[in-house]
């Protein structure tokens, strides 16, 4: 249960980060609060869009899917379900691979770092670890007294 709670909480934070970047891509938010990073450079690059869709929208949808799945998994009737753990791990793996690709672009193609993107990368990595641990946990036989 703790693992699914952690996934729900982290995916909510990831959702908010992606929402912030998506609203910026739509022009709702003027300047990104980036500190010492190069958010504008990354966000204004052609890689910030896939087929015309802002990359951040994929984050919004992905984190929302993780959040809803984790919340469903926290309901008492779904807590013992292994399928939900597997679904969370699958979603997290997809998110991690996509984030890995974006981080590669930042490091080797764009040569600039956006700290919001790095924050999201950190979040999805922790979610992925928690989701895998959840699958392992649900694989263990339940010992009944």
């Amino acid at each position: 249960m703790r693992l699914r709670q952690a996934i729900a909480l982290l995916s909510l934070v990831g959702f908010l980060v992606s929402l912030y970047l998506w609203l910026h891509a739509l022009g709702v938010i003027g300047e990104l609060k980036c500190g010492t990073g190069s958010c504008e450079v990354v966000q204004s690059s052609s890689y910030a869009r896939v087929a015309g869709v802002p990359v951040a929208l994929f984050g919004v949808v992905g984190y929302l899917a993780l959040f809803v799945t984790a919340l469903i998994g926290l309901q008492p009737s779904f807590l013992p379900k292994r399928n939900l753990s597997v679904l969370l791990a699958a979603l997290a793996t997809g998110g991690l691979l996509f984030t890995g690709y974006l981080t590669y672009l930042e490091a080797f193609v764009i040569h600039a770092w956006c700290r919001w993107c790095l924050g999201s990368a950190g979040i999805i990595t922790v979610i992925w670890v928690a989701a895998l641990a959840g699958v392992r946990q649900s694989d263990r036989p339940t010992v009944r007294p």
Partner: protein, 228 residues
Amino acid sequence: MKRFYWLLAAVLLGGLAWIWIGSKSSGTGTEWVAETKVPETKADSQFTGYVMGSDTAPVEVVEYADFECPICAAWGSVQFPVIKQQLIAAGKLRWRLRDFPLPPTTHLWSRLSAHAVACASEQGKAWEMIDALFAHHRMWSQRPENPEKLFRGWAQDLVGLDMAKYDACMATGRYRGRIQYSREEGEARQVRGTPTFFVNGREWTLRDVSSDAFQHVVDSILAQRRRR
């Protein structure tokens, strides 16, 4: 368990409030001033400038211009309309305009104005936006105030752009790399100031840059071609 849901609600509300506050604070425009190195993409390098005139015109002029430069504005408002009417409309000349933003030490809003034109070009109205910028040049050039709102007003009222698209374009700054690429291309061609012209690939070295001078040069190129 109830405490956990309260925690989620607090995080959600806190995050949304933070985003809302962020959306209310407008940028100062400083991101447009700095000559930051923006990575260019393949699309940036494939863009070859704003073109006016026939593809089959025998003469091509490439102009490197800075929209904040007073000489570019004066020349663009007085000489260019005549060239447009006498040479471009007649199919003798094709005009290609390239961005060459000057350093922010003298021209704070070069890149911002170049970007406004690029965003107008998305809707096929680059030249109209350039006309608007030049027509109101004194209102915004070489002034400390950020002219972003002025540009937006002209884009809406004079150029007739779809403002949702324009705003999104300006907010993303998606053409900064393209503008930087154009600047670097100009540097590679030894462009040192604006406006600089190249006629069929050769730099215009005459001091006279009047429409009459262009007319004369274009006519002599055409006469040479006819003799061959």
